[in-house]
């Protein structure tokens, strides 16, 4: 446990050192103003950037490791994740109170079908209901 703590502290110090390295050329005045970056500035800035990133990654890794160990020892209880809210049940459509309502709903449809049957011209190859037998109509095809 203590080793991880030491690692986290050192990594945090390294991250701070990296940040200092990034600003050092400007803070110390080794980088002239309004001029291209010198070799020293390039070297220090990008070295500092790398050190800061690696140090930050080290801090995160050690802190997570410490948390894991504390959980394993039972000293820390992980927060239970919030259960996803259940979708609210969609209210069911109100049941038809009676078959009369159903009949009144279907009446226009029935009427339209009836009109369609009466108006559609029947060609010869189609069987007319009740006039020829099904077998005969199929043989004529």
């Amino acid at each position: 446990m203590i080793r991880k703590f030491v690692g986290a502290v050192v990594a945090a110090l390294a991250a701070l050192a990296g940040l200092w390295l990034m600003i050092a050329p400007f803070a110390l005045g080794t980088q002239p103003e309004n001029a291209d970056w010198t070799n020293a500035t390039h070297s220090e800035f990008f070295s500092g950037l790398g050190v800061a990133v690696v140090g930050l990654a080290g801090v995160i890794a050690f802190v997570l490791a410490i948390h894991e160990e504390l959980v394993a020892r039972g000293l820390v209880v992980p927060k239970p994740r919030r259960p996803e809210p259940e979708p609210e049940p969609v209210p069911a459509a109100a049941p038809q109170s009676s078959s009369a309502e159903l009949a009144s709903l279907l009446a226009p449809l029935v009427e339209a079908l009836r009109e369609d049957l009466n108006t559609t011209p029947r060609s010869g190859e189609h069987r007319q209901n009740g006039r020829t037998s099904l077998v005969g109509a199929e043989e004529n095809r």
């Binding site: 080793r3 030491v6 050192v10 990594a11 990654a57």
Partner: protein, 78 residues
């Protein structure tokens, strides 16, 4: 696994410290024989400190891990 990642970071930081010590001479912004420039002094101090701290942290990590192993060995013998 996460601790291993942290140890890897410490190793990289140690190497970065060594690089910082060598950088003024490797990159060439410190002339030979001349007085140390401000950038050189900064790099030497920071690099040396970084390498030293990382090394100490790695040693402490290894020592504590070995102590753990020894303790487990004692419990297994008993």
């Amino acid at each position: 696994m996460k601790a291993r990642l942290g140890v890897s970071a410490l190793v990289i930081l140690f190497l970065a410290g060594l690089w910082l010590v060598a950088a003024p001479f490797a990159v060439g912004y410190q002339e030979r024989g001349a007085a140390y420039a401000d950038a050189t002094i900064n790099d030497l101090w920071l690099g040396g400190g970084l390498a030293g701290l990382s090394f100490v942290a790695l040693v402490i990590y290894a020592a504590d891990a070995l102590r753990d192993l020894a303790r487990r060995g004692k419990h297994a013998d008993a």
